[in-house]
Symmetry: C3
Amino acid sequence: MILSTIASHSSLQILLGAKKEGFKTRLYVSPKRRLFYSSLPVVDELLVTDDMSAILSDDGIVVPHGSFVAYLGLEAIENAKAKFFGNRRFLKWETTFELQDRALDRAGIPRVGVVEPEDVKPDELYFVRIEGPRGGSGHFIARGSELEERLSTVDDPYRVERFIPGVYIYVHFFYSPVLERLELIGVDERVLIADGNARWPVKPLPYTIAGNRAVVLRESLLPQLYDYGKAFVEAMRELEPPGVIGPFALHFAYDGSFRAIGIASRIDGGSNADHWYSELYWGERLSMGRRIARELKLAEDEDRLEEVVT
Amino acid sequence: MILSTIASHSSLQILLGAKKEGFKTRLYVSPKRRLFYSSLPVVDELLVTDDMSAILSDDGIVVPHGSFVAYLGLEAIENAKAKFFGNRRFLKWETTFELQDRALDRAGIPRVGVVEPEDVKPDELYFVRIEGPRGGSGHFIARGSELEERLSTVDDPYRVERFIPGVYIYVHFFYSPVLERLELIGVDERVLIADGNARWPVKPLPYTIAGNRAVVLRESLLPQLYDYGKAFVEAMRELEPPGVIGPFALHFAYDGSFRAIGIASRIDGGSNADHWYSELYWGERLSMGRRIARELKLAEDEDRLEEVVT
Amino acid sequence: MILSTIASHSSLQILLGAKKEGFKTRLYVSPKRRLFYSSLPVVDELLVTDDMSAILSDDGIVVPHGSFVAYLGLEAIENAKAKFFGNRRFLKWETTFELQDRALDRAGIPRVGVVEPEDVKPDELYFVRIEGPRGGSGHFIARGSELEERLSTVDDPYRVERFIPGVYIYVHFFYSPVLERLELIGVDERVLIADGNARWPVKPLPYTIAGNRAVVLRESLLPQLYDYGKAFVEAMRELEPPGVIGPFALHFAYDGSFRAIGIASRIDGGSNADHWYSELYWGERLSMGRRIARELKLAEDEDRLEEVVT
């Protein structure tokens, strides 16, 4: 069996995980990224192409990640002939505020407050969030008094949220239909260009993501996050049957309590950061990419592939 | 042999480490945390209870961590029938400024300066530290001119320290009576709610700990820290015979030189962050939790359990 | 075969890596650091001495790191009788702005802008960088209006750079002559004393390095960095034949695009931070220290030692 993906986002861990679980790998890569990916022994078949839509008719099992929707479009993915790991109809749930809120609300997970224009106060801080997964690009914080002017230049759909001063953590889950088990695989925080202000504040900087670091949370915070993950899985089972298959992430602001700021309805780039919680379930360290491959192997061994592939 | 602990603080690494070293595990968990802990294969026996004091008469070996004193009280622990890994009389040494200072001073480890009210200068910054391990909750920095007003609302015992602008690092040690060896297992930094100001300073935020990240120190800083660890072990041998058995941590501010700001007289939560220094001693990665289990196994194999259990 | 190094900088990973690859290890350590290093089973032979130049006539293979030039001097190293892993004439390329710039320019890697005194503007921020690897010590940021006064007290060679507000990342490469392959082994960010301002800005603090943390970059940023690494290897092959053998690092500011701020022409201390990218090449985690030992083993097995030793 061959696992196929696109050279971007979290393909490195997907490829490595696939090889470790005994699969062949196929990678679609654009010409300008060829040099790096062609140096990696974890790639069995390298398809150099500017047209990523070739993967839509791949004859292996396609493992989608956070670049798929941007590269291919939701509709093309939903209609593709290729087999996808996971519930391909789940992919859209991160793409709009409306779907995201519906999922979080159904799960009963508290969300960051959304502010209507008439409630903006001049001296308070607000966070302007652009819709959809964008690697943080375009988001900004601003005082109420600056909002109108700043928003006048925003072209994409956005919303104004209460700004929560505190830490922002990204929790990576894997739901296994084969084992009927939810696993909390890891936690990261984003490394933003704005973190350049940590050493000395210079000016407000872009919230664009540069990378990720693993964090361990206080253990006393994990049970609640796990309960949220479980509630999310149950909500999605109703909202988008058969529900979540495999990886997803919940994104939170934490200032003493958790408020969701978003979701990833596929493997989240933050799982690229190496974390050890998977050992609690498996006795060995599995990246999210390897966890995906492990699920495929388990499903294949039990002749249940159709439960994890759509 | 069964290792028992309470579901909190650092129990995940204790459980995982115990399983990896071949022990059975027993976990006392409160009902509201049941869902998460019951999903983990590293738990052999799950005791769901609101009354954690049940562990005081456990018939396995109890591995204490940073939540034990808060949940059970020092006196109950010291008088418990159960066998504890480590020197249970050492647990109290982190609970008061007086004991902590006595230990650090005996070891000759420089401490952060404590400021008497008459020496406070209006324009200088001070750090107000609340007594005992509190996960950072309640600490704050303030200018001298604000101190009196801010302190008027503090109900817990506290002290005023010189504020050291620099990085804060937490060094995790394990003293092995079986091998008569001190091991430097890892280093972390705390992730605080106050780190929310890194991207843009908003207002002073709580010093409450949200999590931890591993750091590696410049290698040239390690020998001095190891010497401090060694001196601490020797001091505690005199102050609380038989002294330290197993894990402890020294907490430092670093601005070019080290000044101790506290200790952990048990496994420190910061050792939840994955670190590689243990490989220097063992050729493989041992978490602090696994290091504890390894010590119990070594002791058991040599029939020296009574040297590591009290 | 025995691998020898000096107890500092990145010797821990060099020693551990050597042991894991089956070599004997010899360590030159100053008396005041003896206690720590003598506790480590990865050291086979410990030579306690105040005179590090003893290593210049070592009869094993010497693995240099970032403290060698400071301890021994470039000339002594270039003329030493001992065999060195890597191209010992490459070591000097990080020691002056001139060499560094020549290497980066030949490779076509964009550099941070250098500012001439007549172009300084009073209200802009500048970064004053002291020449040579110094662990960040002495660097500072300042407004143009403060520059003249601040620079009047700087005794070492320096230059004034445009300040790039953003994140600073350090990319660790290994070039293998045996496999004719460039490997991207990991990425770190520095932990500086100045990071003490993250929680609340107090005053500009020293840029002195206290340690390092691993980061994973957005995967979409890696191909370009790999291309830079490849170009650097090719440039050095012309500039200092036979070119790079083994580890080097490229240092970047990132504010949406990369600008090089420096290089390490040997193993970089930031590779002390544990990173997983090496698994992409080797299926198992290799530290840079172990990667060096692996190269020596490969070379020895193929009777090609003279290609990796000078």
